[in-house]
Symmetry: C2
Subunit: 707 residues, 2 copies
């Protein structure tokens, strides 16, 4: 009997080490390294007036040598195949190195041993695909980057032997010019709307030069060498052929060529991240619908290998911009991968020697962004993988606190906050608020990573920093948080930043919230916010205090103003009062302004988050709230994606309709002057005509008639 | 008057910022990055039986983005030219980015500003060459690797615009086979001696396969796929052409080819580091002269882009092997650059996540090696550049000390010491000794880098660790340092390692030195050293205690034994008692043993250091001692290089002749039974017939007649 038992145990043990033979073999790589490599490649594509323009921060390549390991246990030898992106050798801790074998058909010996594949690839991403009857490469394998760091390998969508991760490309589709006309010594081609594409010169023939000047506006293309991007190519084609140029952002292309060169036409290959438009919004106001749709297109253009700031410029990944993009993503595509690619890419490898993007605020936004990603997606495995890097970044930040334990810019740190003319010296209250919120993010993530000592440490720091923040910066006199303290002396004014973030981060009680609302948010004498970047948070804060109607008006004026000026994508900045010939100017260059900027797509977030009113209150929408607010609209309807499908919301002045997903933790909140009628569920009445309805049925339609 | 003064000051200030227009423009790069990149390229060339074989440790590429900066001050614009290895842009903090200019002829504006060139190059080494009338790129420029780290840029021998650092190659010269004869199904080619070269197939024609099996021995080449290296190439040459294969180590090549392929002959391109043989030695014993010359050739083969262990295998840079190579280098080529390339390459960039080569001892050897390099060369600027990395490595080591403050192997650490079957668990006394010597190296280097706080910290640690080391490991009973302590329990035996290093590091007084000599060094019952690696130190220790005659006998037996077996270069290991057919076996492979191994060249150090007896006592030979010792030879003569030229020493049983260099800090030490006669200088008599003669005249010949 005993013998049989042992035999059975042996079988079970063996099975537990093996994966299902039917399971798909995946290309595996060191966690984050595909993302870091892709972000580097993306970030190095920027040119400015035909000059290469590398980033202002360090961009790490993938680790050049990675070892992939797997415990093998086989009763008898079996055939195996391996595909490797890089130079490599295979060995086991029992048999040594494998020599002189056919990689697509070699024998995996019987016995218990560790198989390891050591890969060298300094160009792209060391990665392998392995298949045998009993084993396939997947996340159960170990990866080691020669940093004494055995971790679980990563994989993604790559399963084709001929297509390792380094062959990853966005999708493309041909697009054609809408109009072509002579303009001065060239031809002006209009693609009808701003786009991001590979320009294609079809049937290019002859010998000589062709100049292509790209314009997000007509004026930019016509400005030739003052355009932000252009290509000057030398042609020597005795026989006509097509020439595809590197991706550019443009609506217009001005082509000037030598008479000795000819082409049939110029078309383009639109390049895009394949996503589903899961978040939707439409309403009774056609202008708002136009704004929403243009925002969606704008955001899609800037949602690529990673979240970039703008398609013409910088084509870089900025942590502050990215935070807004994560949030917009949750209300549009719910593409988790572009968020995680961005978060890995921003961080890179150790050592941490500068802040993310060199900006103090941006290290904090990075940590806060990771927590938001978890809150919306519930992806604990990502948190576990990136947690050691979070800890590295937080330790870097904590090591740079000043003698008062406050965040302050040190040499080499850029204290950004906003482009506004504000004082950034000394202890700026806004940076403390971001630090405190980052400590909260660290607490949550340490819990997920089961790093209890750090969790406790972060909790203590969070409590003490929050207390200290309130003690130092709250002014009972101004009923607001003051802007900063320099050399021990508090400034005597408040700015919007700290105060609106205190509301957004839920860092103040109802009393202070009301005080801030009156003394800052609705107080026109406080320095106005002019960048769409900070407008994002200001509009959100206004919604948080129930000012949806005010927000709606602002959106129509501001975004409507851009549409009125012919915008087909939304801009990096817009000043309705600027002279007509100055709209494209920025950073001292006549066409420096990006006309397709992620943060310009702000409305896709606002309408999902604050009009449809959907947001998670527990990770991955296990619990969530819907508090729709028409903000003066006659009706609205839309969808908000979650990991379990989309939540539908429709509302008019009498009725609210909601369709739940597989999640059963939802709550509908609304006001009604008279007792509302519901088609199902139990209604709970609160103060001030407030009602809540528990949405505890999966994939179910709830209807409320209210007044 | 005041006006003129200001004018004069302005001129002086301007001049002080400018370099002499006659000065040579140099390719500049981030300090250490050319070396780190070169070491990576070198280290990745290893193959084993046609398998790629990347290193067992991390190899860093150069930083991918580097900014070069220079303060410019010009009264009027001037023409400038720039050459860049990588993509780049030029900007100033006054004028912004330069667009649309001719890199070889653009205008540097008048005024005071910072010029900066941002270079991206992830393939090789970001570097620039810049020339204008008043400014050239050189070490006065600042380099920044996007790690918040403005440091002085580095340069070396690169001044040609068309030859950036990444084009660096060793020298080559054609060599011909000595004999060619049919052997089985192939042709065996003998180059007469072991070499390192690109094999060249001359006049290769036809279609089919050619197999080349390389052998450091004839047996290896004939073993075909059991040879450590081979190439199998597919030919498809309708017209005959030459094919040059990647470098290999070989004396023999067995060529097996399809009948459909033909070639005229196989020759090779010997690849070598161009060096001068500054150190020389010859004596009355022809066998010793043979041994010395073969050692010199062996060492030259292993002295390349960096100091490698062996030319066939591993072709890697190992810190323990390299320490011996630095020392050998000081008595042969005095090529400072190969030492610094090796030291940079071993260290790479931050973060420090493993020991150097993953070996505990090797981190210590690395720090000790830096100090030796300084002692022999006096190159303080190198110390200042590498000092931050030393500090990083030392901090890594200190952070890994155990709860008793002792060095002990942690998971991921390899405690090597030697290939001998010794216990490496727990607190090994040998590792403590290396730690203590490393603390001394840190003290010295912190002083040079003017890091006084660290110097003081290291001094305190040095004092306390040394005291503790003596207290724990010295046995009054055994009259020796014991081997180790495991779980608080001392081992009851001594090994040679700690005891001989205690003598070499001058860590014991004369009494203990004598005790160790009797109880360990000359005690045959203590575990014998069998590797040439540790023999290096044992023979040195024997010489330190005056046993030159014993050493001479050993050298003749051991190295003579290899020559007897036909060695043309010296081996990684040699056991005179091994069966004849087992000499090439190692690591479980029949031809695993390297037959040209740096540490096999040991005699080049021994004869210069302990027979001619020359060594520095202050950095860069500012002070030095010559204490020649014939060790039983009838006569000897030779030279030892120093930064100020070579010191010549000749000696027979009656006369010592010494020619000094420009250095005036030398002392000649010798014994004479009767009062010696000197041609110049003042003689001082000591105890035991010991005399010293101050060599205080530069470039002068001193002659001593003694008995």
């Amino acid at each position: 009997m005993k013998r049989y038992l042992i035999f059975l145990v042996a079988i079970i043990c063996t099975l537990s080490f093996k994966v299902n033979a039917e399971q798909q073999a995946k290309w595996i790589y060191y966690p984050g390294d595909f993302d870091i490599w892709l972000c580097k490649e993306l970030s190095l594509k920027r040119t400015e007036r035909n000059q290469a323009y590398p980033t202002m921060w360090r961009l790490d390549p993938a680790y050049g040598i990675v070892v992939f390991k797997k415990q093998i246990s086989l009763d008898k030898p079996e055939n195996a195949s391996i595909w490797v992106d890089g130079k490599y050798y295979i060995q086991t801790n029992k048999h040594g190195i494998f020599y002189d074998y056919d990689p697509q058909n070699f024998e995996l010996p019987a016995g218990d041993y560790e198989l390891s594949v050591c890969v060298e690839n300094y160009q792209t991403v060391p990665s392998i695909l392995f298949k045998s009857k009993s084993y396939v490469s997947d996340n159960t394998w170990i990866a080691n980057s020669r940093n004494n760091d055995d971790v679980s390998a990563s994989s993604w969508i790559f399963t084709e032997p001929s297509l390792p991760p380094s062959t990853y490309k966005l999708a493309t589709t041909p697009i054609e010019a809408q109009t072509v006309k002579n303009e001065g010594d060239g031809v002006l081609i209009d693609f009808g709307k701003n786009t991001f594409a590979f320009p294609v010169l079809n049937g290019l023939k002859g010998s000589g030069q062709v100049q292509l000047y790209y314009g997000e506006s007509k004026e930019e293309a016509l400005a030739k060498k003052l355009a932000e991007t252009y290509d000057i190519i030398t042609v020597n084609n005795p026989v006509a052929k097509n020439d595809t140029l590197p991706t550019k952002a443009f609506r217009y292309i001005l082509v000037v060529k030598d008479p000795s060169v000819s082409f049939d036409k110029i078309s383009a290959l639109y390049e895009y991240l394949p996503v589903e438009y899961k978040g939707t919004f439409s309403c009774s106001d056609p202008l708002i619908n136009d704004i929403y749709n243009t925002s969606m297109y704008t955001f899609h253009l800037a949602t690529r290998e990673c979240h970039i700031d703008g398609i013409k410029r910088d084509r870089w990944v900025w942590s502050g911009d990215a935070l807004q993009s994560y949030l917009m993503n949750f209300y549009t595509f719910f593409d988790e991968d572009v968020n995680t690619r961005t978060l890995w890419g921003l961080r890179g490898h150790d050592p941490v020697t500068t802040h993310i993007n060199t900006i103090l605020d941006y290290s904090f936004y990075w940590m806060i962004g990771i927590y938001y990603h978890y809150l919306y997606t519930g992806d604990a495995s990502f948190i576990k993988q990136i947690y050691p890097r979070m800890l590295g970044t937080m330790n870097f930040c904590l090591n740079r606190l000043n003698e008062n334990g406050l965040a302050e810019g040190l040499p080499g740190d850029w204290v950004f906050i906003d482009w506004a003319p504000i004082d950034k010296e000394g202890e700026v209250s806004f940076e403390q608020l971001l630090l405190i919120q980052s400590l909260k993010a660290m607490m949550e993530c340490a819990e997920i990573a089961q790093d209890h000592a750090t969790k406790e440490k972060m909790q203590k720091l969070y409590d003490s920093k929050k207390k200290e923040f309130n003690r130092i910066f709250w002014s009972d006199d101004k009923k607001a948080f003051l802007h900063s303290r320099i050399d021990g002396k508090l400034t005597d004014y408040a700015t919007r930043y700290t105060n609106m973030f205190a509301i957004l981060f839920n860092m103040v009680d109802q009393t202070k919230k009301q005080e801030i609302k009156e003394s800052v948010i609705l107080n026109d004498s406080i320095l106005q916010i002019t960048t769409p970047y900070m407008k994002f948070y200001e509009l959100a804060a206004l919604c948080e205090i129930g000012e949806q109607a005010k927000v709606l008006k602002f959106v129509k004026d501001y975004w409507g103003g851009m549409l009125e000026r012919g915008a087909t994508t939304f801009w990096e900045a817009f000043d309705p009062t600027a002279p007509e010939d100055k709209h494209y100017e920025m950073y001292g260059r006549p066409f420096g302004k990006s006309l397709c900027h992620a943060w310009g797509a702000n409305p896709v977030y606002l309408f999902g988050r604050y009009f449809l009113g959907v947001y998670p209150t527990a990770s991955g929408y296990k619990e969530y709230i819907i508090e729709p607010n028409l903000g003066g609209l006659k009706w609205m309807k839309g969808t908000v994606p979650t990991p379990e499908g989309v939540i539908s919301v429709e509302m008019n002045t009498k009725k609210i309709g909601v369709t739940t997903t597989a999640n059963t933790g939802g709550i509908l909140k609304f006001k009604s002057k008279r007792t509302p009628k519901v088609n199902q569920g139990t209604l709970i009445k609160g103060d001030n005509n407030e009602y809540t309805l528990k949405l505890d049925k999966a994939n179910s339609y709830y209807e409320v008639l209210y007044k």
